[in-house]
C-alpha cells in the first residue's frame, strides 16, 4: 500500500513539473506569437 501511494505521489510530482514546464513554454510561445 505504501509503495503504491509513493508511486502515485511520484507521478503527481512529475505532473507538477510538466505543468510548470508547459506553462513556461506557453508563456514563451505567447511572447513569440506577439512579436510575429
Amino acid at each position: 500500500m505504501k509503495r503504491l501511494i509513493s508511486f502515485a505521489l511520484a507521478i503527481l510530482a512529475v505532473c507538477a513539473l510538466l505543468v510548470l514546464g508547459s506553462s513556461q513554454l506557453q508563456a514563451a510561445n505567447g511572447v513569440k506569437a506577439d512579436h510575429n
Partner: protein, 275 residues
C-alpha cells in the same frame, strides 16, 4: 534434421521482427538525414534534432501529452481499482456478468464512436473543449482497461487470506490495505502502464474532444502530416523510441535485481533454519 528445424525457426523469428521494426528503423534512419525528404539520404546531420529543440510549441505539446497520459492513467487506475473491487464483491452472478459486459463493451467499441459520443456529451452540457475534456475522456476510456487488468488478480486471490485476516481481528480497512492491495498491486501497476500507453497513443478520441488551443502529440503529428511530413517528426519519434527503450530496459534490470535479491534472502533464511 534437427539443425534444419532450428534454422527455419530462427529465420521465421527474424522475419517477424524485421516486419515489426523495419518501418520504425526506416523512420529513425531518416531522422539523421541532411535533406528534407525520406526518399534520398544525402548525408548525416543533427539538423532535425536542432530544429526540434528550437520548436518550443512542439516541446510544449509533448509535455502536455505526457501530462494528460500520466494524470489520466493515475485517476483511471484509482477509479478502476475501486470499480474492480466492487465488481469482485458482487455476489449475484447475473449482475456481475452484466457489469463485466458493460465494461467490455467500452473496450471493443470503436474509438471513433467513443470520441463522437464524448463530443456530443460535452457540447450538450456546454463543457468547454480543451485540456479538461481530453483528460476526462482519457480517464473514461482507460477505466475499463484497468478493471480488466485487476479483476483476474482479484479472482486469483484466495478467500481464505481475507478470512484469516478477519479472524485475526483486522478491520475492513486493514484487510484492504494489508492483504488485498499488496496482493493486487502487480495488477494495479500493469493496469496503470496499460492505461498510460493507451492514453499516450490515442488519436481518434482526442481528435474529437481536443477543441481549439490544446493539442496532443498524435493530433499535432496528424495536422503536420497533412501539410507534408517534416523530418522533425522523425527526430521526435526517435527520441520517444529511445525513451521507451530505456524505460523497458530499466524495468527489466529492476525486476532482475529484485528477483535476485529476493532469492538470495530466501537462501539465507533457509540456511539459517537448517541445522
Amino acid at each position: 534434421m534437427k539443425m534444419y528445424g532450428w534454422h527455419w525457426r530462427h529465420l521465421y523469428l527474424i522475419f517477424v521482427f524485421a516486419l515489426l521494426y523495419a518501418p520504425i528503423f526506416y523512420l529513425l534512419f531518416y531522422s539523421f538525414n541532411q535533406g528534407t525528404t525520406m526518399t534520398h539520404f544525402i548525408g548525416f546531420s543533427w539538423r532535425h534534432y536542432a530544429e526540434l529543440f528550437a520548436d518550443t510549441r512542439m516541446i510544449q505539446i509533448v509535455l502536455d501529452t505526457l501530462l494528460i497520459a500520466l494524470l489520466a492513467s493515475l485517476l483511471a487506475t484509482i477509479i478502476g481499482t475501486l470499480g474492480a473491487l466492487v465488481i469482485y464483491q458482487v455476489k449475484r452472478i447475473w449482475l456481475k456478468n452484466s457489469l463485466l459486459s458493460l465494461n467490455n463493451i467500452l473496450m471493443v467499441s470503436p474509438d471513433v464512436i467513443i470520441g463522437a459520443s464524448f463530443l456530443i456529451f460535452f457540447t450538450f452540457f456546454g463543457f468547454k473543449l480543451g485540456f479538461n475534456s481530453v483528460l476526462l475522456s482519457h480517464i473514461a476510456f482507460s477505466i475499463p482497461i484497468v478493471v480488466l487488468m485487476i479483476l483476474p488478480r482479484l479472482n486469483e486471490m484466495r478467500q481464505s487470506l481475507v478470512d484469516a485476516a478477519m479472524d485475526l481481528g483486522a478491520t475492513n480497512w486493514q484487510v484492504l490495505s494489508r492483504v488485498v492491495f499488496p496482493f493486487i498491486s502487480p495488477g494495479i501497476l500493469a493496469g496503470y502502464f496499460m492505461a498510460f500507453t493507451y492514453s499516450l497513443d490515442d488519436f481518434a478520441v482526442t481528435f474529437f474532444v481536443t477543441g481549439n488551443g490544446f493539442e496532443t502529440l498524435s493530433v499535432e503529428i496528424y495536422a503536420r502530416a497533412r501539410q507534408g511530413i517534416s523530418l522533425e517528426v522523425n527526430a521526435l519519434s526517435t527520441l520517444m523510441f529511445l525513451f521507451a527503450l530505456i524505460l523497458i530496459t530499466g524495468y527489466y534490470l529492476l525486476t532482475r535485481y529484485t528477483t535476485t535479491k529476493r532469492r538470495q534472502r530466501r537462501y539465507q533464511l533457509e540456511a539459517k533454519i537448517k541445522p
